[in-house]
Symmetry: C2
Subunit: 346 residues, 2 copies
């Protein structure tokens, strides 16, 4: 059986519908004939179910359509895992196969609809909405949140990364005093005579033990607390924010917006430095003695951030290894949008 | 007992030498008097052993010397861990305390000599050569290799990162055929009829199972093999390198230099994508069936790379979590220098 390319899709006549669509979910039927996206045609060629497309066998066809190899690998992998799946638009898929993946104007922002196991294109259910990218394809943060990325690395291994918009919330809520004197100390601050609840209930700062001790605060903690009147520093809250901008630039404003947002949601952010992140977070802090495991790792990014898949893989793998969820906080220094990314095994 | 600042150091008269140097290793004796670096003076103030420096107590003194807080935290932490230690140059340390840390012209490139437990400045042995940085201090790769970084994060926790120049070597060495036909396939290549040893002994490529299968090669593998005459592609080795530069720019040349270097050392590099790195490596591959655990994660960087401590923390933490050593390959596309960084608990 042979296929012919017309208008970016592959047509197969004869009883193609019966052979490939009805029982195995390939293509879009048109009477007894079948319209196949190039990736479907490639898979049928690979399996030996089609003999040729435009006279080409599997190897030649795979090399002849730009970008098809990467898409084929994902299509095949998902088929091997027992799924039926369909390119979202056949012409569009063909256009994407031709190298236009990543065009922000795409009507549908994914490449493949993967149906639940046991279901197919004749049902009306989608298990995964998959975007296929090579490991070198930059992925704008704005295009994540409701899609699964299938990243094909340079050695043709596939990593699935599920993205979603998580609800970030907790129950931490400490009652704090007001007007506690604090001092700036270079790129941090100190409360030399801290009220106990600041650390013990609010989990603010890091105690410096000893008689001369006190509570060390990060600039973020200091800015947050000064902004709420809990601590008082010379120059007021602006002096803290100013100092933050001196050492971090705009990043400080973004991180402070996220810090404030988290505290407002009842979630306690502490530094994520040891995990290479901005914050690790605790959703339900009632006292520092009964602190549980931190749940999220948070990286703060500007809203127009563009991920390199490798950086995403690094963050997600690390978070997984320490049993936390990787969350990106996209902030312009005012509002915050949340994006969670996790490894997925379809 | 009081100290006075003169020439960037703190002088303590009386029996200071006896009290602080002879038994506890603070300062540099000058007759019965003692010259202290600001960080040593701060620690003695903190402990209550000194009453004041220039009339200031611990809190005021700590705030009065720019950059002293960060250095004090590390000095204190190492003392708490049972070490005696000394700023490398007292005037120099004072100059650094005044905010000049990171000056590449420093004669000595570290801030603290930490003596082995049980030893002190009167001995002639150094356990750790420590550079103190804040988490926001950029660290040039060229300044690592024989020092331990003490990174003080924004919440005043300390992470110690040991750097060294590792010997990278292995025993992998497969005998390969020559002139095997290969085809370019977008941003990868394929050997459609691969000799078995290419994968089974050399661990090159990724098999695509099935009748139509073959061996998929990354562009790096293809460039390496084409350069050695093992595979033949249309356009020769240059066509592969050219394609690599199209998709990765200069980075491809750096990565290929590192790939070639590793193979030359008997070490097999495979993609490190799932770990967010360039490569994971296997030192002793005799056959793919008996593959052990990969030992290193390799990130390729240009020689003038400047690390953000947070990125270093991320890489090192991930590598540790998967029981591998994080190694940076600094390459200009020709030569390669190796740098290993590991978390250290002093």
């Amino acid at each position: 059986m042979e296929g012919r390319t017309r208008g970016g899709v592959v047509w197969v006549e004869g009883n193609a519908r019966e052979r490939f669509y009805d029982s195995r979910g390939y293509g879009r039927p048109d009477g007894p004939a079948l319209e196949l996206a190039p990736v479907e045609a490639a898979h049928l060629l690979y399996r030996g179910d089609l003999d040729a497309v435009d006279g080409q066998g599997f190897r030649a066809y795979l090399a002849s359509v730009p970008g098809l190899a990467v898409r084929f690998l994902v299509y095949k992998d998902l088929r091997d895992r027992g799924f039926y799946l369909a390119p979202t638009t056949r012409g569009g898929a063909a256009a994407r196969d031709a190298g236009e993946a990543g065009d922000a104007e795409d009507a549908e922002d994914v490449d493949l609809h993967v149906f639940p196991r046991g279901k197919g294109p004749w049902d009306d259910e989608v298990a995964y909405r998959v975007r296929v990218v090579g490991e070198r394809t930059p992925v704008p943060a704005a295009r994540l949140g409701d899609a699964t990325l299938a990243v094909v690395d340079e050695e043709s291994e596939i990593t699935y990364l599920e993205s979603r918009r998580p609800t970030v919330s907790g129950t931490s809520d400490a009652t704090l005093p007001e007007g506690v004197p604090a001092a700036m100390l270079g790129d941090r601050a100190a409360v030399w005579d801290p009220p106990a609840e600041l650390y013990a209930r609010g989990f603010y700062g890091q105690p410096l033990e000893g008689e001369a001790g006190g509570l060390q605060l990060s600039l973020l903690e200091a800015a947050h607390l000064a902004g709420r009147g809990v601590i008082e520093v010379s120059g007021g809250p602006d002096a803290v924010t100013e100092r933050g901008r001196e050492v971090e630039g705009d990043r400080f404003d973004r991180r402070l917006a996220v810090y404030d947002d988290l505290r407002g949601r009842g979630v306690v952010p502490k530094t994520g430095f040891k995990f290479g992140a901005d914050f690790r977070t605790y959703a339900d802090v009632t006292s520092v003695e009964e602190l549980g495991h931190s749940e999220l790792l948070v990286r703060v990014l500007p809203p127009d951030h563009v991920f390199q898949p490798r950086d995403l893989a690094l963050d997600v793998r690390l978070a997984h290894g320490v049993r936390k969820t990787m969350v990106f906080a996209l902030s312009d220094g005012q509002s915050v949008e949340w994006l969670a990314v996790e490894r997925l095994t379809p």
